[in-house]
């Protein structure tokens, strides 16, 4: 208690110097929290875009489909998948890599045959329709194309396009469609590559002998949360025996890599901050010790043991550091909460962001673990930084220190 009391009083001896250290800790803690929350928000924006537009949380395929995307590698849609606990939405899809031909050119696209209602539950595509209307079940010759494609091929609503693809027998099939809706999902790269048609209309052309069956190439799932992923995956594996059930991390290792990279970059931020902090603290505490050289000598002369002097300097450093942490937390919390609600508008960079499927508005995400990690890191850093000044304090010789001017 004596050491703590003395340490606390000592840190306010040179108020300005202590406040400079405290301010640097406040700014450091706040900036790391904000930067990390911003990165998490940006990563989440990318992840959500990828999940909605491409993968969902989970997909089921024929085991051969992934390697060789032939129309024949299908599986039966199955029943009751929507009743599995943890499944928020699912979408059966008939897929084909085909050619989109227009009066202004042609390009390869992924043709997605969807059940419009179920697909909207997974990808939320209906909300992205900017012109015209969304597909309806039974829309035989309607197609949903992206704004990107309409710009490229000068398409408009009711424009005619021709889709050419191979059916399950390897024969080429062509069919004309009229543009019913134009969408923009915010992910330019994906939008440019895909068109949507009604699942049944595509199945009729693809599986001529079995067009009324429930054969699909892909079943995508959105879950209520990623914590349900393992449970749902094992239930789906049981429901679709012999099929390939993969979660998004297996489907797109780059997404898992991105999540890891965000965390890694967070640790790098923290490390850089700690590195700057450690030198700041050592400098300040060394000054504090050297300034009080005579007093520290006197303390040892009148009987304050070296362990107590050492712990006093360590405690001073620790207290000095920990004064700034709660204020940094508070500022971090307020700024993340505020931008987390209102979003941080990055319209100026939105073109670049959209290329990678990220929204132009980023909503920083609060991660309580970051607060804990940062607090622990500052505490450890301050303790490490205090060792040298504390050693300096106990290595002095009282007889020499007392006489120092």
């Amino acid at each position: 208690m004596l050491t703590l009391k003395l340490a606390w009083k000592n840190i306010w001896r040179s108020r300005t110097r202590s406040l400079v250290v405290v301010a640097s800790i406040i700014i450091g803690v706040w900036s790391v929290i904000f930067l990390m929350s911003f990165s998490l928000g940006m990563g989440d924006s990318y992840l959500q875009s990828a999940l909605k537009n491409e993968y969902g949380h989970m997909q089921v395929h024929h085991p051969n489909y992934k390697d060789d995307q032939e129309a024949k590698f299908t599986f039966e849609e199955g029943a009751n998948v929507g009743s599995i606990a943890g499944v928020k939405a699912y979408s059966p899809r008939v897929l084909s890599n085909g050619m989109l031909s227009t009066g202004h050119g042609a390009r390869g696209v992924i043709i997605k045959g969807i059940d419009p209602e179920l697909e909207d539950g997974v990808s939320g595509i209906k909300a992205f329709v900017k012109e015209g209307e969304y597909l309806e079940t039974g829309d035989q010759r309607s197609i949903l194309v992206s704004q990107k494609l309409t710009e490229k091929f000068k398409l408009g609503l009711r424009s005619k396009v021709v889709l050419t693809f191979q059916d399950e027998n390897g024969d080429m099939q062509s069919s004309a469609y009229r543009v019913k809706g134009i969408y923009n999902s915010g992910n330019a790269m994906v939008d440019e590559m895909r068109v949507f048609v009604d699942k049944q209309s595509l199945a009729q052309l693809m599986f001529k002998n079995d067009s009324l069956g429930n054969r699909i190439h892909e079943m995508a799932f959105m879950l209520t949360g990623t914590d349900q992923m393992d449970t749902v995956q094992s239930q789906l594996a049981a429901l679709f025996p012999g099929e390939l059930v993969e979660n998004y991390k297996q489907l797109a290792p780059d997404l898992a890599l991105m999540e890891t990279q965000i965390k890694t970059s967070g640790y790098i931020f923290i490390f850089i901050f700690m590195l700057a902090l450690i030198f700041g603290i050592i400098n300040t505490m060394l000054m504090a010790v050297l300034e009080r050289y005579r007093e520290l000598g006197m303390l040892q002369a009148i009987g304050m043991g070296k362990p107590r002097v050492f712990s006093m300097v360590v405690m001073e450093t620790f207290l000095l550091s920990m004064v700034g942490v709660p204020i940094g937390y508070l500022l971090g919390y307020i700024s993340v909460k505020s931008f987390g609600t209102n979003g941080l508008d990055l319209t100026a960079f939105s073109k670049g962001n959209e290329m990678f499927g990220m929204s132009s508005t980023v909503y920083p995400i609060m991660d309580i673990n970051l607060f804990i990690q940062l607090g622990v890191a500052v505490a450890i850093t301050s303790l490490v930084a205090s060792i040298y000044p504390a050693l300096k304090a106990i290595r002095l010789k009282p007889v020499e220190a007392i006489r120092k001017l």
Partner: protein, 227 residues
């Protein structure tokens, strides 16, 4: 009763480079209740002798006993504990802790010893009354005059009830009135509580009040007079 006994003390600084012999065979015994001034010109070795007696420095050779305990063989940590319990220090520059109040400075050594709060409070009040600072309990050193600070230092030195008090040039920074006042207090403590005082000084006012004057010259005792 012998409080301090030093025998054949020598102290050589820089023995491997340019040796300086600060003490050259000092024998000195101080009995309980003595009021002793160690005097001598600058460089005579009086501060070195005081540091060795106080366990702050070690002799090159010779033995030292405090209250019958030999200091020579003690480790650094043992010496710190010994100083805390057995010796009171008063320094030339007061050396109070600037962030603590008069009362807190006075009780500091007792806190180190782990004495109870009630014991500390009683002793602090008693000591500060003795040195005439009862009304300055909550003042910080910066709010006190030099004489008052030195009186706090005396109170702090007495707090742990040491065997003796070592005062290194205690009046060097004080004016006449403060010196006289401080010496009155020390004399009173010596008479009433039989506290043993050992000063190093060149101050004639201190020498005049001392009942024993040990004169050091060139690291040796030149004279040792009791009044």
């Amino acid at each position: 009763m012998k409080v301090i006994e030093v025998k054949g003390i020598t102290k050589t600084y820089n023995p491997d480079k340019v040796p300086v012999e600060a003490l050259r065979g000092v024998d000195l015994t101080i009995e309980a209740g003595e009021f002793t001034a160690i005097v001598g010109p600058s460089g005579s070795g009086k501060t070195t002798l005081l540091n060795i007696i106080g366990g702050l420095d070690r002799p090159t050779s010779g033995d030292i006993w405090i209250g019958g305990t030999k200091l020579n063989d003690m480790s650094e940590n043992q010496l710190i504990k010994f100083r805390q319990k057995e010796i009171g220090f008063v320094f030339q520059s007061y050396n109070l802790i600037p962030v603590l109040t008069t009362a807190e400075n006075t009780e500091f050594v007792m806190l180190l010893q782990g004495r109870s709060k009630s014991e500390r409070d009683t002793r602090v009040k008693e000591l500060l009354a003795e040195v005439g600072l009862s009304d300055k309990l909550d003042k910080r050193p910066s709010e006190l005059s030099g004489g008052q600070q030195q009186r706090v230092a005396v109170a702090r030195a007495l707090a742990a009830k040491p065997k003796f008090i070592l005062a290194d040039e205690p009046t060097a920074n004080l004016d006449s009135a403060s010196t006289s006042n401080l010496l009155d207090i020390m004399e009173k403590l010596n008479h009433v509580e039989h506290m043993t005082f050992v000063f190093s000084t060149h101050d004639q006012r201190v020498i005049d009040r001392a009942r024993r004057v040990v004169v050091l010259e060139d690291g040796m005792i030149k004279s040792d007079d009791r009044k």
